[in-house]
């Protein structure tokens, strides 16, 4: 054993991970080989008292389409066996950077050489009269990070967000009981729940500010077609509505329960459950309290290393990747932020684990982490399908579509569009030099699947864009039409066409057996013998007519 690895075995690299969601769990899995070799220790702190589960499927779970087992995503037992220390149901109360340690709610102090924050995000709670909110002072967060997360923010009875398993249980109870569900916010999660609830027999209603649902992802055309499709699916869509306060009625036990949502224009929307679906915010408090720079998330450079401390890293929904500000640059906080999608988080987890492994083992540098392309957003519900990504608002009638930029850029932005609101179909493709910069696709699932592939790979679209639309056409699956074309194959085994049989019949081979002897048609699997007979009959009829 080399000197280096001997010393590593005696002083393994201490890695502490805060957060055991899907991204944290992925990081653990990828780091297991290093832990098994004994050259690193890994300690995981997770606030939820449960194994990591697949939060992406929480909406499916909440409407009863996925059970708890199918949310499981990682083998915590294998991690423990490999020697990973897990503290679940415990939260971190502070990062003590000067001591290279984190303190836990159960009093434990964990020291680290590298600290990875995968604290994720929490659902936003909008300001509504009737809901008590925790104040989050941007400049000066409260001293107790744990309290920030849960303490004092108990939502009234009949009001919930949808982020964890408990939330899902509340929603599921309402859906299965066929209750009236009011969804505040028309993002992808809100729309999915509303549509799924409606198809499960519950009454659902979506209340939102703007003109269209999913306005962060869709253009006006796509949004309108979605709204119309949702209405058709039985969801009440209430747009242009700013929610202001809640009305309650009193349960038998004396506790207030949600009764109605009141909007700025005085409209009252009654329901049994109010689901707040107003986006998520990164959990940044721990980092901020520790003096680390944060913006929309914990600020990290392209190596996922904190702007303020090279021993601290962040991945997943809590990480805001942005280039470190250099001297003389604007001190404004960078824009952008976590994508809220799982794929980029998993890529970060994989990459960081690989980087740690290489560094600890003294292996070479890893390739730079490629910044995630814009994430594809998909809304999937029975009969309503929406996929969108990137620039979706470009207008086909603005010259070069992106106006000013067209003058500077060699290739202009182009837009191709197909709108058929009557049938719930809409496609917009925004391209530069034939390559997608964004698209919206509503009600055309096969087209959406192909556009997604084209976008993900950065591939060139067929010059005739209409090729992409035909995938969802009824003619896409060819049928009997043309079965008697001269070129149509009758016998696959021997490659014999209608034309060849007709020709053979013309010289006197008018029975299936004769055709077989002359052309070998029907002498393979024999499955085409009936068709040979049909071809002969047809030929005989036409022959007699002429």
């Amino acid at each position: 054993m080399s000197e280096r690895s001997t010393s590593q075995m005696q002083n393994p690299e201490r890695i502490v991970l805060v957060g055991y969601g899907p991204v944290g769990a992925r990081f653990v899995e990828e780091l297991l080989p290093l832990v098994r070799r004994g050259v690193a220790t890994l300690t995981v702190v997770g606030a939820e008292n449960t194994d990591a589960y697949n939060r992406v499927l929480i909406a499916e779970h909440a409407v009863g389409n996925a059970d708890r087992d199918s949310l499981e995503i990682t083998d915590t037992f294998a991690a423990r066996e490999a020697g990973v220390h897990l503290h679940l149901g415990v939260s971190v109360t502070a990062i003590l950077r000067s001591r290279s340690a984190v303190s836990l709610s159960d009093g434990t102090l964990l020291t680290y050489d590298r600290l990875v924050l995968a604290t994720g995000a929490r659902a936003n709670i909008p300001t509504l009269a009737g809901i008590i909110r925790v104040r989050r002072d941007r400049q000066m967060p409260a001293a107790d990070a744990a309290a920030l997360d849960t303490g004092g923010a108990t939502l009234p009875r009949g009001v919930t967000v949808l982020r964890d398993l408990d939330d899902a249980q509340r929603v599921l109870a309402a859906v299965t009981a066929g209750k009236r569900i009011v969804v505040l916010g028309a993002g992808v999660l809100g729309m999915e729940i509303a549509l799924a609830a409606a198809s499960a027999g519950a009454q659902s209603c979506v209340v939102y500010h703007g003109e269209i649902p999913m306005n962060r992802n869709l253009d006006r055309g796509g949004g309108n077609v979605l709204a119309q499709s949702a209405r058709r699916a039985g969801v009440t869509m209430v747009n242009h509505s700013r929610a202001e306060s809640l009305l309650f009625h009193r349960d038998d036990d004396g506790v207030d329960r949600f009764d109605a949502l009141i909007c700025a224009d005085g409209k009252q929307i009654h329901g049994d459950l109010l689901l707040l679906s107003c986006g998520v915010g990164a959990r940044t408090e721990l980092a901020q309290l520790a003096g680390l720079p944060v913006s929309t998330g914990i600020l990290v450079d392209s190596n996922l290393q904190s702007w303020g401390d090279p021993r601290v890293y962040a991945i997943g929904d809590c990480a805001h990747v942005a280039p470190v500000r250099r001297a003389g640059e604007s001190t404004a906080l960078p824009t952008g932020g976590p994508s809220g999608l799982i794929e980029p988080g998993w890529r970060q987890a994989d990459w960081l684990a690989r980087r740690f492994s290489n560094e600890v083992l003294g292996a070479g540098e890893v390739h730079a982490l490629i910044g995630a392309a814009a994430g594809v957003v998909m809304l999937k519900a029975e009969g309503v399908e929406v996929v969108s990504v990137g620039n979706t608002v470009a207008d086909p009638w603005v010259h070069g579509a992106d106006g000013h930029a067209a003058a500077c850029d060699a290739a202009p932005l182009n837009v191709s569009q197909w709108a058929d609101p009557e049938h719930g179909r809409y496609v917009k493709m925004v391209t530069r030099a034939g390559i997608l910069e964004g698209f919206v696709c509503v009600g055309m699932p096969r087209t959406a699947a192909e556009l997604t592939l084209l976008f993900e790979r950065g591939s060139e679209l067929p010059a005739d864009r209409s090729v992409l639309l035909r995938y969802d056409g009824p003619d896409y699956e060819p049928s009997v039409a043309g079965a008697f074309d001269m070129g149509a194959t009758v016998c696959w085994c021997n490659g014999v066409t209608v034309g060849a049989i007709a020709e053979s019949a013309e010289v006197g081979n008018t029975s299936v057996a004769c055709i077989g002897a002359a052309t070998r048609a029907g002498t393979g699997c024999g499955g085409c013998k009936m068709r040979i007979g049909e071809v002969l009959d047809r030929f005989a009829t036409f022959g007699a007519m002429s």
Binding site: S70, R446, S459, P478, W492, N494
Partner: protein, 706 residues
């Protein structure tokens, strides 16, 4: 004289030949005969197979390369003396492993067995592998891993007839094995034939008119597709819980792993819409449930399209996992199988042609196996070499320092069939000595120092093992032309010249009896078989240990692992991502045409077949063709860093617009494998044949041929 055929491909065609020996070959005609697998049906290749016996191209004497590069005929004794001398010198100078052997999946069981023995005993070399590495290796590795045993179909092929649902992944049986499609009729009638292929092949068309569904994913995304289907089956509670508990192990880990592949994410990677994924998963499960009730269940069959990848073993494993989760395998109504690709693709992989294998599907590094086989061979177990190199590595060792200086090729045309084919051709030229046994001057034979003319299907005795593990007799129907010999005789003569230990019979029946003894106690146990039994025409399926009556359906009570349980093995899609398709960059897939077989050495010499398909044509979508100024029948150039193919275009809506297809049957600068990469699967050694990034351009602008 009439010769009746019970199988499909030329190499298989002899299976049920019945005739009195010594008829003149020129008078042969081919006729069908009732047989359960093909029911007397043949495709074009079978009907015309007799022409090859009398082809004017046949080599009728041993040929030796002259100093001026031409070949001259010589006597057998001179040719064999020359070969033996060269083998001796090479071994003395560079060691036994400097001699390599490359076999074929078209050889009879007897030849496959004898070739392995000849290499290990007479040559003392570990370096033998065969073209089945390019064919069945991924499915075999996955089957062994999951079930502890690999037999293409663990059930009889005619059991498919009553299936409710059949899922075929990456196989175009309607053209590669046409009589097989008769077994799909039941599922078609039930609306349950599902074909997964990036092309709308003849097989995919069998799903038309309500007979089922064609799923058209982008090439190379099959693994993700299968993980996604498994996910849906689990989430929608369509799994067979009782089966999983009683017959398998590893479900929990697989469940957690596939939970990463929810439907929308699968759609993103495959191009298959969510509704189709769900519909397919539900149909598979409904078929399985119906099977339990009525006996007409669900079968999942994989082909080379999903297996010939650098993650082919994992992809086949994912198909098996899906089958296990649905409770299909080892039941009387459902199953999983892989469609064997070559004439003797099954038997060829059981008896020692593989670099790590001894007869009976034994492992060469297993001391017990070595002792047993060495005992049958009459040699010291310690004299047997260890594990050799899988095909691509073996070819990579040609002419390299410490590598192979002298190569024997039997039943294979590697200059056409190996990936990165031009490198293989160049490497063959660096050898000290190349010996090729063939009927014709194949693209590989023309590079040889000595070409040994060998017997064809109707000219020899032997056995083959079909995809369902059925052992079939090959019988002599006509005498071989004067000057043509069987490989069994050649190896006997060479062994004698090399003063080899052990015995090398030239009689197929004696070799078979020895094979049966050598396979005794192995996974592919033939010990209860004999020509006498086979000649009774009783259907026989291995394992067939002494005293048994064979095994038509495997795994009914237990799998072949010591605990009797099947393994669900966690596999992950690690080869995601594909290059941007811009400016003519497209994904190439390769495959077969109805008219041709393998490298085309045989079928290109049959007039009727070569007239129908005389040259390679690149299939591409009209939208893609339009984009790059390519019209139907116009010349195109397809290239990678490894090579360039020039051929005509075949414009068709039967292919995805991001994909092009090239058949691999043609020679010279139309070899599809000039383009393919020799990167291999870490488990099976299978090359990446079915996802090659290529550049396509019109060769000339307006019509004229360059």
């Amino acid at each position: 004289m009439k010769l009746s055929l019970g199988e499909t491909t030329p190499a298989e065609a002899d299976a049920a030949a019945s005739a009195s020996p010594a008829a003149p070959a020129a008078s042969l005609t081919v006729a069908g005969r009732a047989f359960p697998t093909n029911r007397g049906g043949l495709c074009k290749k079978g009907w015309t197979a007799a022409e090859l016996l009398v082809s004017p191209d046949r080599i009728l004497e041993p040929m030796v390369r002259q100093n001026d590069g031409t070949f001259a005929a010589t006597s057998w004794s001179h040719a064999l003396d020359l070969v033996a001398a060269k083998l001796r010198v090479t071994r003395a100078e560079y060691g036994a492993d400097a001699v390599g052997v490359f076999g074929g999946g078209g050889l009879t069981n007897e030849k496959a067995y004898q070739l392995g023995k000849f290499t290990r005993v007479a040559l003392g070399s570990s370096r033998i592998d065969y073209n089945g590495r390019f064919c069945m290796s991924s499915a075999a590795a996955a089957g062994n891993r999951a079930f502890g045993l690999d037999r293409g179909l663990p059930f009889r092929v005619d059991e498919l007839d009553t299936a409710d649902t059949i899922l075929i992944l990456g196989s175009n049986v309607a053209q590669t094995m046409p009589p097989f499609i008769g077994h799909l009729e039941g599922a078609r009638a039930a609306g349950g034939l599902v074909v997964i292929d990036p092309r709308r092949t003849a097989t995919a068309r069998l799903t038309d008119d309500g007979a089922g569904m064609h799923v058209q994913p982008t090439p190379g995304s099959d693994l993700v597709l299968l993980l996604g289907l498994t996910h849906i089956v689990i989430v929608e509670k369509l799994v067979d819980r009782g089966y999983l508990a009683n017959r398998t192990t590893g479900f929990d880990a697989v469940r957690r792993c596939v939970s990463r592949w929810w439907p929308t994410r699968v759609q993103e990677q495959t191009g298959v819409p969510v509704w189709q994924l769900r519909q397919l998963a539900r149909r598979l499960a409904a078929g399985a449930a119906r099977g339990a009730a009525t006996g007409s269940g669900t079968y999942i069959l994989t082909g080379r399209g999903v297996e010939q990848h650098a993650d082919g073993t994992d992809t086949a494993t994912a198909a098996i996992n899906l089958s296990l989760v649905l409770g299909l395998v080892g039941t009387t109504h459902s199953g999983y199988g892989t469609l064997t690709g070559q004439g003797n693709g099954q038997g060829g992989r059981e008896h020692g042609q593989k670099c790590d294998q001894l007869p009976g599907y034994r492992k060469i590094n297993d001391p017990v196996a070595r002792t047993h086989v060495a005992g049958v061979w009459g040699v010291d177990p310690d004299s047997l070499p260890g594990v050799g190199l899988p095909a691509v590595e073996l070819l990579g060792a040609l002419g390299e320092p410490g590598g192979i200086r002298c190569l024997l090729v039997h039943g294979s045309n590697i200059v056409v069939s190996a990936p990165n084919a031009d490198q293989v051709r160049a490497a063959l030229k660096t050898l000290d000595f190349l010996v090729v046994a063939d009927f014709f001057f194949s693209d590989t034979a023309v590079l040889a120092d000595v070409v040994l003319p060998v017997t064809q299907w109707a000219e020899e005795e032997g056995t083959m093992t079909s995809l369902e593990g059925r052992v079939i007799r090959r019988r002599l129907a006509v005498n071989a032309p004067e000057g043509v010999r069987s490989e069994l005789w050649i190896w006997q003569e060479l062994a004698r010249r090399l003063d080899s230990a052990g015995t090398f019979s030239s009689q197929a029946s004696e070799v078979f009896d020895e094979l049966c003894r050598a396979s005794k106690g192995g996974l592919a146990d033939y010990s209860g078989l004999s020509y006498a039994l086979l000649d009774t025409e009783e259907p026989v399926f291995w394992p067939y240990p002494v005293g048994s009556t064979g095994t038509p359906r495997l795994f009914l009570d237990r799998f072949a692992h010591p605990d009797g349980l099947a393994r669900l093995v966690v596999v992950e899609a690690r080869r995601l991502g594909a290059p941007a398709q811009v400016g003519g960059t497209l994904t190439l897939i390769t495959g077969r045409l109805l008219e041709h077989y393998q490298s085309g050495t045989q079928t290109r010499r049959v007039r009727e077949l070569s007239d129908a398909q005389p040259e390679a044509r690149l299939q591409l979508h009209p939208a893609t063709a339009e984009q790059f100024g390519i019209s139907d029948e116009a010349w195109v150039e397809v290239s990678t860093d490894r090579g360039t193919v020039r051929c005509r275009a075949q414009v068709s809506t039967d292919i995805r617009f991001d994909t092009v297809f090239l058949p691999f049957h043609f020679s010279d600068d139309q070899r599809a494998n000039l383009l393919t990469d020799d990167e291999t699967d870490p488990v099976s050694g299978m090359p990446e044949f079915k996802k090659t990034t290529v550049r396509v351009r019109a060769l000339v602008k307006a019509g004229a041929h360059v």
